[in-house]
Amino acid sequence: MEKIKKLTAQRLFMPIFCLVIMLIAAVIASPDFFKIGVQNGVLYGRIIDVINRGSEVVILAVGMTLVVAASAGTDISVGAVMAVVAAVTCAFTAGGQQSVNEYINSPILGALLGILVGVLCGCFNGFLVARLKIQPMVATLILFTAGRGIAQLLTNGQITYVRVDSFKMLGASIPGVPIPTAIFVTVLVVVLTAVLIKKTALGIYSADANNIGLNLELDAILAVALGGNSLAGGKFSLLGAVIGAYTIQTLTTTLYAVSVSSDQIPVYKAIVVIIIVSLQSPELGRMIHRMKAKVSASAGKGAA
C-alpha cells in the first residue's frame, strides 16, 4: 500500500498511466497494433506510425511546455506559424513556382530561412508577452489569425510541391536507415531543449515543411495538459509532454486502425481528453471525497 502510494505520487505517474491505458485500448481495438514489419527497407507498423507521426506533436509540445511554464499562457499560433514556415521554405526552395522536380534554390537555405521566419514569429509573440505584458493567449491570437492568411498569400493559395527525393528524406527516411528520419529530428530537438533549459528558458519554434499544421496547436496543447503539466505555469516536465504527445498520437492511430474517418476522429478525441483532464482535476477528487463524507454521515445517522 505504501509503495503504491509512493508510485502514484510520482509526477509522471498519471501521464504514463494514461499512455499505458491508451496502448491497451489500442491492442484491444486492433490486435496487430504492435506488429512491426519491414517495407522498402523501412520499419513499418502501427506503433512505428505512432512514433513517426507523433514527431510534430512532440516537437510542438516541447516548445509549448516551455511557453506554458515561462509565461503561464498557451501559444495558440503554433499551427499557423508552422503553415507560414512551411510556405516560406517550400516557396523559396521551389523558387516561387507551384511544382518543381529539382531545386530552384538551395533547400538548406530554404529550411534556414523558414526557421528564421519561425524565430521571428516567436520574437514577435515574445515581445508582446514579455515587453508589453500582454496575455500570451491574446498575443498569439494575432498570429493565429494572420498566419494562415500570410501563408496563403506566399503560395498564392496553391499547394506548392517540391518533388525532389532528398527533400522528402526528412519526411520519410534516409536510404539504408530503417528508422524514419522524423524520429531523429524529434530526439534531437528534445535533447537540445533539455540541455538548453538548464541555462535559459527559450521558446523553440520548429516546423516540418511537409505538413501544414492544421489543428496541431490543439494537439500540442492537449499533449502538454495530458503530460500532467499545469497550464497555469510553474513546474513542468518535458518528458511528461513527450509522453502526452505520444498518447494523443496513439489515440489517433488507433482510431484510424478501427477505420473511423478522419473528420469524425475529433469526437472521440474530445471525449477522451475531457475524461483524462477531469480525472486530473483536483476538484473532482474533493467532490468525490465530500460525497463520500455525506454518504457515511447519513449512514451514521441511520445507525444512530
Partner: protein
C-alpha cells in the same frame, strides 16, 4: 470616487476609438466605391444581414470573456447546429419550429456541460472548449459527411422573408421606388443585443459576472456564488451560440462539415476590438457589435475591390487586433502607474 471616473474614461475611450474607426472605414469605403453602390442604405443593412449570426455569437463570447474565460467551440457549434437543422428537416422530416427548438436545447446542454467543467471542476476554459470544439466538429461529420441543403418551405420562408423599411429608399432608372430591406434574423440579433446589454448592466447576474471577472477572490469574499454565476454565463453563452448558428443557417440554408471554420476567432477578435479585456472584468456588447461591423466592412471592401484575395480579411483583422491589444496594454500600464 475620482479614480472610478478615470477608469471608466479609459474603457469608454477605447469604445469611442472603435466606433470612430468603423465610421472612418465606412466613409473611406463610400469615397472609394461610391459608383458601385457602397453609399446605399442597403449596403449598410447588408452588414447586419450577413453578420446577424456573428453578432449574437460575439455577444455570447463577450459574456464569457467578461468572466475571464473564453469559448473557442462556437464555430464548431454553429456547424453542428446547421447540420442538425439540415438533417432533421431533410432526412428525418421534422418541422421547422420543432427542429429550431431542438437545436436551441442542444446549445443549452452544450453550455451546461462546458460550464460545469469550467466552474465546478475548475478545468481551464480554453481546454474545455477546445474539447468542445473537437466534439462539435466531429459530431457534424458523424451526422453527415455530405453537404445537405435545406428545402423545407417553412424554413426557407423565414430565410427569405424581406421586411421593407419605410425610409432610405431611392428611385432607380426605371422610376421604381426601391426600399431597403432586412431579414427577421437582423431583428432577432438586435433584440438579443439589447436584452444582453440590459442584463449585463442592470441585473444582479450581470453585475456578478463583472465582479467575478474583475477579481474572483474578492467576488467570493463578497458572498457571490462564483461557481453558479460562471455556470449560468456558459449556459447563456451556449444558448446564444446555438441561436447564432440558427441565424447563420438562415443565411446559408445548408449544413456541411467545414462550415463556419474560424468563426470563433472572428467572434473573439470582434469582442477584443470592441474593448473586451481577455483578462476579464471589462467588456461591452455594444463594442462587440462595432467589432463585428468593422469585420463586415473590411469584407465589403474586399468584395467591392474585386481583385484582392479573401485572405486579406484575416490579415487586416489580425493587424487591427494587434493595434487594439497594444492600445489596451498601454492603458493598463498607465492605470498601474497611477495606482502607484
Amino acid at each position: 470616487m475620482k479614480k472610478e471616473g478615470r477608469k471608466l474614461d479609459g474603457n469608454s475611450f477605447l469604445l469611442v476609438i472603435t466606433i470612430a474607426l468603423f465610421v472612418i472605414l465606412y466613409l473611406v469605403g463610400i469615397g472609394m466605391f461610391k459608383n458601385q453602390g457602397f453609399a446605399k442604405t442597403q449596403n449598410f443593412l447588408n452588414l447586419f444581414i450577413s453578420n446577424a449570426g456573428l453578432i449574437v455569437i460575439a455577444v455570447g463570447m463577450t459574456i464569457v470573456m467578461i468572466t475571464g474565460g473564453i469559448d473557442i467551440s462556437v464555430g464548431s457549434v454553429v456547424a453542428m447546429v446547421c447540420m442538425i437543422l439540415a438533417w432533421t428537416m431533410e432526412k428525418a422530416g421534422w418541422g421547422a419550429i420543432q427542429t429550431s427548438a431542438f437545436v436551441l436545447c442542444i446549445g443549452l446542454v452544450f453550455g451546461l456541460v462546458q460550464g460545469w467543467l469550467v466552474a465546478y471542476l475548475k478545468i481551464q476554459p480554453f481546454i474545455v472548449t477546445l474539447a468542445g470544439m473537437f466534439f462539435a466538429r466531429g459530431m457534424t461529420a458523424v451526422i453527415s459527411k455530405e453537404m445537405i441543403s435545406i428545402k423545407n418551405e417553412t424554413f426557407l420562408s423565414w430565410a427569405q422573408c424581406k421586411i421593407y423599411l419605410p425610409f432610405g429608399g431611392y428611385t432607380n432608372k426605371k422610376g421604381m421606388l426601391i426600399k431597403p430591406y432586412i431579414y427577421p434574423s437582423v431583428i432577432i440579433a438586435i433584440v438579443v443585443l439589447i436584452v444582453i446589454f440590459i442584463v449585463l448592466k442592470y441585473t444582479k447576474f450581470g453585475r456578478s459576472i463583472y465582479a467575478i471577472g474583475g477579481n474572483e477572490q474578492s467576488a467570493l469574499m463578497m458572498g457571490l456564488n462564483v461557481k453558479r454565476t460562471k455556470l449560468k454565463a456558459y449556459v447563456l453563452e451556449g444558448f446564444l451560440a446555438s441561436l447564432g448558428g440558427l441565424l447563420f443557417c438562415l443565411n446559408t440554408c445548408s449544413g456541411f462539415v467545414e462550415q463556419a471554420k474560424g468563426l470563433e476567432m472572428d467572434a473573439i477578435a470582434s469582442s477584443v476590438i470592441g474593448g473586451t479585456l481577455l483578462t476579464g472584468g471589462v467588456g461591452n456588447v455594444i463594442g462587440s457589435l462595432f467589432g463585428v461591423l468593422i469585420k463586415g466592412t473590411i469584407e465589403a471592401f474586399i468584395t467591392f475591390q474585386g481583385t484582392l484575395s479573401s485572405w486579406w480579411t484575416r490579415i487586416t483583422i489580425a493587424a487591427m487586433l494587434c493595434f487594439f491589444i497594444i492600445l489596451q496594454s498601454i492603458f493598463a500600464a498607465a492605470k498601474e502607474k497611477r495606482k502607484k
